[in-house]
């Protein structure tokens, strides 16, 4: 039987995954960013349980009060605790980000694999569609889609997903083009592997590092887009504590009660930044040179 890992003193045993962990440990910024994101995830799950105030708890006695011991982030124009609202908004932003990017990733990956592997007219059609989508500035495209579909968070998710598909499709297509002619894929074909086996067992794993990096970076921009859409009144509707909406609420009070906009704005900024830093760190650690 195959013996378990044997510490052979003449070689250093490593799997591609352990190589990745070794390199990733060196990316200090990314680790901090990753930690923050983990914190956000925890908050997203338990927010409603731990917040000191309800998100719709009006308190007309303390309207637009600045940060204090009772209200860490202050209160808005209805006396609602901003801290609680921001915390609860985490769940919305993260889920919008995750769902839309995951949809874009899955769809884009499939399109990229098929277009890249088979080429010909399928590839042309897919690429033309992607080129068209990419020709629009992201936010305008998202606005356009929501205008067609109507306002609301679900449609925001769809819009952001659509606008994310071309990036994944292009990325995966380029890896597919590169790998489909590699010797080990040729070896697999000579063994008799079917096209779908080659796509999912040989080519897709090769594209996964790039997909992961693109995924992480995209979450940041999709959260930003979703917030922007809500800010413009096209996404979540009040009283949802979505961050973009919180920002929008505070627009009128920017000069008198800055705290209403600062804290949601900070939340968006920190979240997007963390995802971008994590993505950078992942990209460095997943460098294609997996071997010396």
């Amino acid at each position: 039987m195959i013996k378990k890992k044997q510490k052979d003193q003449n070689t250093d045993f490593s799997t591609p995954f352990s190589e990745f962990t070794r390199k990733f440990k060196k990316q200090k910024t990314a680790i901090v960013a990753g930690g923050f994101i983990l914190l956000l995830c925890v908050i997203a799950i338990i927010a409603y349980q731990i917040v000191p105030y309800g998100i719709n708890e009006y308190d007309y006695s303390s309207i637009l009060k600045g940060p204090s011991a009772a209200h860490w982030f202050g209160t808005d124009e209805f006396g609602r605790d901003i801290f609680s609202r921001v915390l609860c908004g985490t769940r919305i932003s993260l889920s919008v980000g995750l769902v839309s990017v995951t949809t874009a990733a899955v769809t884009g990956t499939l399109l990229g694999l098929i277009g890249g592997y088979y080429g010909g007219w399928i590839d042309s059609i897919i690429m033309r569609i992607c080129d068209t989508l990419l020709a629009f500035p992201g936010l305008i495209l998202a606005i356009g889609i929501v205008a067609i579909l109507g306002p609301g968070l679900y449609n925001v998710v769809i819009a952001v997903a659509i606008f994310g598909i071309p990036n994944f499709a292009r990325l995966v297509r380029s890896t597919t083009l590169q790998l489909k002619n590699s010797v080990y894929v040729m070896a697999a074909r000579s063994l008799g592997a079917t096209d779908s086996r080659i796509l999912f067992r040989y080519i897709l794993p090769g594209a996964v590092p790039n997909i992961i990096v693109q995924y992480t970076m995209s979450i940041g921009s999709s959260i930003l887009t979703a917030s922007s859409l809500s800010f413009l009144g096209m996404g979540a509707s009040p009283p949802t504590p979505e961050w973009g909406l919180l920002l929008s609420n505070g627009r009128n009070y920017m000069l008198t009660a800055m705290h209403v906009t600062i804290f949601p704005g900070l939340a968006i900024f920190m979240t997007v930044l963390s995802f971008n830093l994590l993505g950078d760190g992942l990209r460095d650690a997943l460098d294609p040179k997996l071997n010396e």
């Binding site: 003193q9 003449n10 070689t11 010396e292």
Partner: protein
Amino acid sequence: MAEHKEKNILEIKNLCTYFFTDSGTIKSVDGVDITLKEGSTLGIVGESGSGKSVTALSIMGLLMGTTGKVVDGKIILDGDDISHITPEQQRKLRGNQIAMIFQEPMTSLNPVMKIGNQIMEVILLHQKVTKAQARQMTLEILKKTDIPRAERIMDEYPFQLSGGQRQRVMIAMGLVCNPKILIADEPTTALDVTIQAQILDLMNHLKKTIGTSTIFVTHNLGVVAEICDEVAVMYCGRVVEAGDVYRIFAEPKHPYTKGLLASIPKLGEHVERLDCIPGNVPNPKFMPAGCKFAPRCAEAMDICHEKEPEFYEFENGHKSKCWLYDKKEGGVGR
């Protein structure tokens, strides 16, 4: 040419080049001694991991930009110690006194420059001549390398030339400033066998006419026998045997050299099984103690696994690093 054979144009003593990577230090070249006599061709033979290419790059000072550094040793070119010169001085030497030819002529020639201009650039960098004179010198050296229609080639780009022609251009570029030594790093490995024969023929011819002292790095023992006067065999960053080519082939002393010679299939020889050297080249991060070849050596003794041997000298400068020749340690002696 024969009168100069006794002068050493290049002497390398105890060269150590290490690569400092984030997963450890790799001692690519660890204590290499090489002498090149004026006018002769020295072959450095070795397989992957032997350090032969790194030795060549160390002499040229081409390790900048990599994680490699020459940490110890002396390099003496025609009496001058060039081990610790500044990068600017090194640059002045390159192309002018030491020239190098590489394995892949396509990637070592600038693809967007005409051939003529590339060679002229080398001349103008090192010699005070006019452009017209440089052009004339270029034409002459191209003709010397037997390139047909040298005039036309001057105005062509590398992609328009065949592999053999590009290699001739590389040789021309190397020789144009009449360097003291030419280092050829596997110049024929990427060429077809019939083209390789043409290039080796050319290099033999140039040996007789121009007589540049040459270091020829290769893993192909057939090529060594064709073109080299002296040979140094490298294994794991060290020279394990050195001497003149006839002696090394007729009476190899080191078990590695013997193993190499026995394991190559030779035309006209019909054997059932090839003698082979068992095992693999050790991982540079886990080098064995003692003689680096001991784990694979059929004649290894106890001392071989403990201490690295010194050079033992035979006749005519033939020497080998092997405990087998040390009577004190139980070897057979000379």
